[in-house]
């Protein structure tokens, strides 16, 4: 005899998506504010500090853009398979593998013209990530092994592999006991955009976002990806190969995450370190999910999340807060978005009196 029932919406509209997403984010901002308040800080002051340090100065914007680069790639690495109904939560590991091969190429290749070495480094990052992603793609496509589990597990294999390298064979000799590789020679760094300290990989990231958006919207392949994602049975009946689609999206996704790793090492940190990523692969999931897999939305959202990381780190130092607030905010946002999804797909309906009597079981 329920007066209120939930009813599945017939279709989800663009406005509906926008409204639910904005409300979810506002709610998480509110929750995080309450959390800061309970922790004894003034939330409004804290938010202003975050905004000012991340976006309020040229230096801040430069830092934010630097942090944004890996996020765009890892978010795309989640988004593309997501559109095909495949859960790639392995971007973190694919990024580590990309960083591994890129470092290997940057430190060991001899006799290649300097103009080719940077493209070779970026491509090797793509290659290693693509192979790492494709393993899960093949297992899912051929043997129906759940890709959620395999991509997740392969994260840790990749992270451990890099840890092994930088504590073992690749460890810098006489390197003061730190666990990292030797410095990549300066002429092999990914060049900065003229007049800034931002490597050109950012351009590549934005370009890839546009290419993938175009591919999904306008090409036959993109159509197949969307059909496989929306309804695998229909796709099979229409003669589309889900194996090919799954393999392809995982290959490209892994490759993109691999470029994130190559870009981070050859463009920003300049040596391979143990645990060089503060979880970019996982933050990418938050970003891509917020963007509902739309590559073009990923660009601004990555910028905002990068700002949150930069601002959160500043906040920690300035307000003398313990570490962890960036993760708390990201976790809360993801909770709110995941919960908000419900209101996108269902609506609450007030039933009229006669409906209650005529339909109650």
């Amino acid at each position: 005899m329920k007066r209120f029932v939930f009813e599945r919406r017939l279709s989800t509209t663009q406005e509906g998506y926008l409204r639910v997403t904005v409300l979810s984010i506002l709610f998480s901002i509110f929750l995080f504010g309450v959390f800061l308040l309970l922790g004894g800080s003034n939330p409004i002051l804290a938010y202003l500090k975050i905004l000012r340090s991340a976006f309020g100065s040229l230096r801040g914007i430069s830092h934010t853009t630097l942090r944004m680069i890996p996020l765009v790639f890892t978010a795309l690495a989640f988004a593309l398979p997501y559109r095909a109904g495949v859960w790639n939560i392995g971007a973190e590991g694919q990024m580590y593998m990309g960083a591994f091969l890129a470092t290997g190429v940057a430190l060991s290749i001899q006799g290649m013209p300097d103009s080719l070495i940077v493209p070779a480094i970026i491509f090797s990052g793509f290659l290693a990530g693509a192979i790492w992603g494709a393993i899960s793609g093949i297992l899912r496509g051929l043997l129906k092994v759940d890709e959620i589990v395999t991509t997740l597990m392969m994260n840790y294999i990749a992270i451990l592999w890099v840890s092994y390298l930088v504590t073992g064979p690749w460890r810098e000799k006489g390197g003061w006991g730190y666990s990292h590789s030797s410095l990549i020679p300066k002429e092999r760094w990914i060049p900065f955009i003229t007049g800034t300290e931002i490597p050109v990989t950012i351009v590549l990231g934005v370009l890839f976002a546009f290419i993938i958006a175009l591919l999904l919207k306008r090409s036959r392949l993109g159509y197949e990806i969307r059909v496989v994602g929306a309804n695998p049975k229909t796709a099979e009946l229409a003669g589309m190969s889900s194996l090919k689609t799954i393999l392809l999206v995982m290959l490209v996704a892994g490759g993109l995450a691999g470029i994130a790793g190559a870009g981070e090492i050859a463009g920003v940190q300049h040596r391979l370190r143990m645990g060089f990523s503060p979880g970019y692969g996982f933050t990418g999931i938050v970003i891509a999910f917020l963007s509902r897999g739309n590559p073009l939305v990923i660009i601004p959202v990555s910028f905002l999340f990068a700002g949150m990381i930069v601002g959160g780190n500043t906040l920690q130092i300035v307000m003398k807060l313990p570490s962890g607030i960036v993760e708390i905010f990201q976790g809360m946002t993801l909770f709110c978005l995941a919960g908000g999804q419900f209101f996108l797909e269902y609506r609450m309906k007030r039933r009229k009196r006669w409906e209650i009597f005529s339909s109650s079981p």
Partner: protein
Amino acid sequence: MGDFFVLALSAGTPFILASLGEIFSQKSGVLNIGIEGMMLIGALAGFSVAHHSGSPWIGLVGGVIAGSLAGLIHGFLSITLMAPQVISGMALTIFGFGITSFLGKPFLGLPATSFETSILGVTPPVIIALALIPLSVFILTKTRFGIHIRAVGEYPEAADSAGVNVSLIRYLCVLIGGGMAGLSGAYLSLAYSPMWREGMTAGRGWIALSLVFFSMRKPIFALLGAIFFGALWILQFKLQGLGFGVSPYLLMMIPYASTILVLSLLSSERIRGRIGVPEALGKPYLR
């Protein structure tokens, strides 16, 4: 050899506890990949409750309660709001890491209120973990509750029309999963390595998750797998000390790699049907 077994069992206990909980959750149809986060929350809660109360036993209870509350978030999102379970679980892991780093700061460097007694060379929670295995088997296979768990995990529509409250059963299982993960974390911070450190679970939650798939959701296999993974965990330190040339990092790949291997080998439809991957795993249910 006996000593090594005791060490492996002690190192494997967090895996036993957390995997048993996740088995309940998954059998009821809810995938929770937030084990690492729930374990951290349990570890910090256990440590701080024991610190304030002066009793490690009350600490363990605190860990269980905190872990269940963390699980409750996942339950509310994935059962009531039908959220994508992977997303919600991932959020739980990120959030758990953040909140424990934040709240745990005052406890850094403090000595833990630990267990003083040991039984047969192991701490009391290890015995609890061992006792929970036959108990879980009994609950899952011999009781009404266990049958209901399987029913809502395999075919919630049928369970519903037979009068089983699908949401209630799933909530209970997710709470069990959270509580056991919390207990597992509290065991770490109170008995296994008595202290609080940021991110002290060090990936054990992910190993516990992989163990659930590795063991095909059977508590007995989970026990064997946990001892095996526990032995690897011990070996990574032992080999270093003995001067063997195997990197601990390479050794710790084995749990993940063997899980992927087992899943691939057991992937044929026929075997899948027999080992009972819950049909409704990961799928929300709306009446």
